[in-house]
């Protein structure tokens, strides 16, 4: 790995560890390998959002050309958000693409992602299904996102109605995540989700 990239990451790692956000448990950063090419990030769901109370794990890969090119970041924790793929965790955020600047750091990236959770951009979606729901039925979106936060990110709010519907599908032999995706995509309409799953 290029010297400059390793040196930057070392320093940034220290910066994050010492930051007040870590003290407040808002962000977290861990090394995955010893040569600073891969890290694991974690951000807390921002308050007053469907993600509140959840912890979202991120995979961070540092390219050889860092910091001249942005780090490659994706969500490991499954999340329901217009700008994050519910399938792959890929993120649509300008600073991770053409708006990257060499002076940005892993800390600013993590904080930007946290900000993205509070302010979605449905007009520049990564997940078209989620974005459509966000624009057409915001309440349904919030309910779904909160349920996903509870199911995957350790969020506190349990929605027993959702859980029941999933259980119905699981009882029919559908895998749980698959059932959740289908129900989420059809605004928790059990009939249509079933139809889609068995068609």
């Amino acid at each position: 790995m290029a010297n400059i990239a390793a040196q930057r990451i070392k320093r940034e790692f220290k910066e994050v560890i010492k930051s007040e956000e870590v003290a407040k448990c808002a962000i977290k950063l861990e090394l995955v390998d010893n040569n600073y090419t891969e890290l694991k990030g974690e951000i807390a769901g921002p308050p007053d959002t469907p993600y509140e109370g959840g912890n979202f794990v991120l995979e961070i890969k540092v390219p050889e050309t860092y910091p001249f090119n942005p780090p490659k970041v994706r969500f490991i924790t499954k999340i329901w958000h217009p700008n994050i793929s519910s399938v792959t965790g890929a993120i649509c955020l300008d600073i991770l693409k053409d708006q990257w600047a060499a002076a940005m750091t892993l800390r600013t990236v993590l904080l930007s992602l946290q900000a993205l959770l509070s302010a979605a951009e449905p007009d520049d979606p990564q997940d078209a299904v989620v974005a459509r729901q966000y624009k057409e039925n915001l309440d349904m979106f919030k309910l779904t996102a909160r349920h996903w936060t509870n199911a995957y990110a350790g969020g506190p709010s349990v929605n027993s109605e959702c859980d029941d519907k999933i259980k119905r599908l699981v009882d029919m032999g559908i895998e749980e995540h698959q059932a959740r995706v289908a129900l989420s995509s059809y605004n928790w309409d059990l009939e249509r989700a079933t139809e889609q799953l068995f068609s």
Binding site: I4, Q7, F68
Partner: protein, 319 residues
Amino acid sequence: MGFEINRFQGDVDEELICPICSAVLEDPLQAPECEHVFCKACITQWISRQPTCPVDRQNLTSAQLTQVPRILRNLLARLTISCDNAQYGCTRVLNLDTLSTHLEECEHNPKRPVLCEQGCALVIPKDELKDHNCIKELRSLITKQQQKMNEYQHEFHELRFFILEQRREMQLLKDFMRALKTSNPSMRAIADAMDRDAQDREVVRWSNSLQRARVTRWGGMISTPDDALQRMIKRTLTEMGCPIHILDDLMENCHECRWPPGLCSLETRQNNRRQYENYVCKRVPGKQAVLVLHCDNQHMGEDMMVEPGLVMIFAHGVE
């Protein structure tokens, strides 16, 4: 790429850190408006990808980068840093501004060129000295030289072949021209004209190589020099490198019987005395004589000049 921060003694202020490489600024440059500062190498590399300031994304080109303020340079110069060769045993700690001078002469630089003292006298990097084998090195040197020699020899042969080829071609062209000349009268005329041009150019060149002469007493002119005098002048002209095709004509023009109408008798000479000063004369070294060449004297009237020129011999009065 700046200097690694852990090479410095004590704390380094955040302001002295490059936001790109996160090391201490090396050859710092600053953006004009926002005044953000970066290492030269870092910001150049960034701008080559994207012409913006990496901190605030304002437009920024390489040409706009300027030197940083003196105070910043001084603060950097004052930092104390360990030598690049610390891992090879150098214990020096010096001010940042003296680092480069030290590195040039640092004893611990593993790549410092040293002279082999075992006999081969080759200059080799210090870290290769322990595995250095004079005979092996010299042998590889010989092989390399031999290779080079072979290459040159090859090239030499090729060039020689090329020259022979050219020579043959030139001969062919000459023959061809000769044949054209004999078979075609207009070609002959062109060839002759070319020859004449070449001869004229030769005379001009020769004339330009001669020194100017000044005749102070035109009355000393000998209009009927005898044979002995003529032979002597002719010999001198030959020694002066006079073009062979004008030599005889010139020498014939040293006697009034061949002079132009304006000079050919005592009477006409008397009439034209005033024009003498207009002649451009060239020296005939060591002799009381001057050359008045046609090519130098085209401004004179036709009755005062003949081709290819005149030789004037004097009893005295030439400088």
